[in-house]
Amino acid sequence: SQDPSLPEFKDFTTATEWEKFIASLEQLIEEWRLPNIVSTGPLANVSTGALGGGEWKSRSETVSFASFRMMVTRHYLEGSTKERSEEDQAKEALEETEEYQESLPFAMDDLLSFTNDFPAKAHFLVRWYGIRDFLLITPDMGDDTISTVDRQKMLLGSVCTALRNTNCQLPFFIQMHHPQEKIACGVMCAQGFHCYFNMVKLVHTPKGYDTLNGLLTLFKNKLCNSSFYTHLPVDVSIRFTYMLDDWSFFDLNSIPSHSLDVDQVIKFGDLPMGAGVEPISEFRLMVSWPHLAEDVVNDSIAHSDLVPANAPEWCVTIKYVSGPYCYLENYLGEFETVLSKNESLDLVLGSMLSDDIDPELANVMDRLAEPKVRVPDLAASIMPSDTREKRRRLTDDEILIKFMNYIFIPSIDQETVLSSSGHIDFGDISTALGSQSAEKLEEADEVEKFKEKLRALKTSSKNSIVWRLSLALIEAYHTCGGIEGLALLWVKVVGELRHHFERGYIISSIEPGAPNLGMCLLHQKIQMLNCCIETRNARELRESRKQKKKVPIDRMANCHFKMPPQSENPTEGENSSSDEDFFECSDSTSTSEPVGDDKSEGTPIQSPDDFKTLDDAPLSAEGRSKPFGALKLLSTDEQMWVPVCQQPSPMTEDMLQEQADAILKLASDPECSKMTARLQSASLFSDMESFKAANPGCQLADFVRWFSPRDWTEPIRDEKGEIVKAGELSQRMTIPGNMWQDLWEQARPAPTTRQKRLFDDTKEGEKILHELITMSLSDIANLLFPCIIQCGLEKICESVHKGPRDMIPFMEHLIEKTKQELRMRRPNYKDLIRRMYEAEIGIARAESLRQKLFRKEEPEETESSLKRYLAMKAQESSTVSVEELVLDLLDKPEVEIRGGAKSAVGRAITKLFENAQKAKLEDTTLSTKSRRLPASQQFPTPIGKEFILRTKYPRPSNNSRTGAHRIYAVITGNEFRLAGAFTEDMLFY
């Protein structure tokens, strides 16, 4: 229509607003290249995802009618329409006349098509008319609506004109009234047909029109003004929707509950999980008769053939409660809020702390160690009695002791108890699946694999003291008075740690040795405390030996805690048996074993053998460890000895960070390398002193030969063994004023025992304990969270097979994410908890669905064993398919049930509805004790009925060409809606 060769011509005759509006519509249609649009072929079946599942796109622009702004939007299913190519256009021009007679416009074909009747998810116009590409006008001015008939007619007329002028075949709709009303009217012009779309919406259903028969009468009346025209063949599609949203008929105990019962035994390490409310709000069954001839079924007020059992197609969909309350999420999320609480312990505990806590507080362990004596006075004396509430409180000594026992006394049972409870419990399902035990094993393997992965997290080893500490503290937070309980227990725990530290008791159930930087900070700190304790014990032992064993060595705790032997009778006094074995005194020799590359400070005590060899060495030599190969000292030609050295001070990651920061600060200094070297030279200096002590008469070159052999060049000898070239130090070692020489000169011969301690155990231990007791709540929570997160993840992983299909990759990703996150300085716990919540919801939904669908069939009495066997077999196969259904429901918006009512899944669903019906009936009449309800009563009244009636019929006169006509009717409790599309032939009338 636009020929560029013509000069631009402004047509001043398009003067009225109406004409301008039409022109702008036409312009838009041209711009979007819609006049030549054709379909790409018939739509695929709805189940393979055409209208419902395909990718819908839209494109919008505003147009104005005078000052009334409107939005024109094209909604189209990607790929379902295309622009006609020019060749096609030319070809069609030739065949035009024929075309006109042969086929209907594609939008009309869609109106009559059966393949896309009830899409799961689509625009309402698509749902009602089955169209694939259309335009829609909506007002674009706030609350303005098109509600008057004259406006509607005016717009419809404009649209119609525009469509005709541009020869665009797409249906064009005008949205009427408020968008929520979902009322639109529209028109389509193609091949000389006009198809008018119109709607009726009523609140009450006119009597009789909620049945197929009523609607058929209506449809025929509209078409040919005579309901008696019975030969008009009408094709029908019907869909009924049934809904369950009241789950009260389920046994109460079937919904898992986790009540925080005050008197309940505190279950440490077993985090609560699952939904606290029913996570499924609605269960909908859609049954449809996709393609019926009108005379096949009878559906009138008096009688209806339309019962679910007869429906060939079944479809199920689920609605979920959004953001259901879940135990784990709540448990973790609540605690997460502590992260933002910067209050100090003093502030929280107030006056409680002002009383001197140190001397008494920590003696719980003492009392535990004394068999049978447990005087509950401690906590009561600290807490004013009037603050006691009915809630469980840590002021209750019994409870405090329970907590402290859990934290500080490792129980062997714990490991086994936890791991046994960790097994996946498939309950009824698995018992029915005897043949599937292999699969179950596989799943258990998978869970193990997850746990293995979890072990790689930067937390603490499972059931270590840090693990137990974290879980006990979060439990205290939840059950014993929130932050107060948390603070109180923390103070007690730190007190207990101090007690260990001061008495020289190694803290048990944590790997020995220097802080493992792969573990969480709290883990490292406890390890560090142990290092301090061990070091001091070793030192004191040494000193006590010097005093010729004046001090009995029973204060020496064993370096490596030995698990108490498992009690034969675990129920009897878990305390008493472990208490007695708790502190094993070390054998006097056990710590004085020569320490090779051990983590503890090298013990300078020499074994008797060393003393023997010492005899022929100069008496002044001290602190020898072993001869260093066959090397001889350069000047004295004596055997070179490896000295006993101080091990470098163990460090936790925050200490390392501190040191790194110190070095970092110096990095700006030009003299930095000197400074940083000086900062780190203490260990080298100590080694030099030890070396000097062990090798009297040695020189720097000797030290370098041991310490840094690559800085020494061996002498070159000729064949006779004569030295041709003397051995020499590397040049970098001989630069005047270099640090190594400086240090060597300053170093005095001194064995480790007389050196300045590299590792000041008292100072470091005090530092840690002080830090712990002066922490804010937020710091404490940060220390505890890694283990808590891991425990939560473990809990989820145990149920990983109960979740939706993509649960396993999801968890793998989550664990990977957690791994990264925990290595961050400030992990985003909120995000991790949110992700865990997602998993928890997934599992809860799946479990809830299973519970509903796996209702065990009551065994029908007096059956032969063969019958029972067959029934069991049947149930077995049904279990599999119902499980499939559960997983499908979680994955897809709508799940089609193959075989409908007769399939195993169909039976399970029928049963579900039937049970709900029974429960309802029992409420009113107690007489219905019968096993089965009649088919007509198995289901409640449908909450929605949808009918689609369609036919081809010539209109407006008998001489007209036949066009497509369709009515879509939906009847729900509070709505009766008809959406009609009626075609008129504009050429032959």
Partner: protein, 210 residues
């Protein structure tokens, strides 16, 4: 230590992002670790670089397309006595350069043990580069390029022969590491999602009623 968030501050969408990486140098003593770092960071070379005590820390920033990569470099002492300290430097490091002296085969076998240790104990996705230093002393070469290359290929290491003295390949090896480091953490953030959210929203429009 120093488990810093990658991506650092100002992780803007378009504006060049800054990534911070911890890199550690390991290797036998006197193979030229400190010299490599000095060359990379300050462009200097000292014939007699003093033997490192403990570890030294330096930083250097390189630009890579639109990303700024900041290296926090931990230059460790090579003496055996310092071996036990090494884990605290390579722990949490995203990259490591294992250096050997190509005039000395012993340092090459020591490098191999370092690689093994890193593979076993460092973070699983650490980028390891192998540097055969002192390439300027070609006449005294004792480790063949092919041999080292083959070893590097076998263990998926970056490999270059470098010379801190002549600056050959020094910047290159750091750049190669920067390129290999993952910088698109933000893309991973989305990652896997459970169907939970999706199915909740799909419920909105389904169904004929309400």
């Amino acid at each position: 230590m120093s488990n810093r968030a990658q991506g650092g501050p100002g992780n803007g969408a378009t504006a060049g992002k800054i990534c911070q990486f911890k890199l550690v140098l390991l290797g036998e003593s006197a193979v030229g670790k400190s010299s490599l770092v000095l060359r990379f960071v300050k462009g200097q070379f000292h014939e007699y670089q003093e033997s490192t005590i403990g570890a030294a820390f330096l930083t250097q920033t390189v630009c890579l397309d639109d990303t700024t990569v900041k290296f926090e470099i931990w230059d460790t002492a090579g003496q055996e006595r310092y071996h036990s300290l090494a884990p605290m430097y390579y722990r949490g490091a995203q990259a490591a350069i294992v250096v050997y002296d190509l005039t000395n085969p012993d340092t090459f076998s020591r490098a191999k043990t370092w690689v093994k240790e890193l593979q076993r104990q460092a973070s699983p996705n650490i980028v390891i580069a192998l540097a055969g230093n002192k390439a300027d002393l070609a006449s005294k070469r004792a480790v063949e390029t092919a041999e080292a290359q083959a070893y590097a290929d076998e263990n998926q290491l970056l490999f270059m022969e470098t010379s801190a003295k002549t600056a050959t390949n020094v910047n290159d090896i750091f750049l190669a590491i920067a390129k290999k480091l993952p910088k698109n953490d933000a893309a991973n953030q989305q990652g896997q999602r459970l169907n939970v959210a999706q199915s909740a929203e799909s419920n909105q429009s389904g169904g004929c009623c309400k």
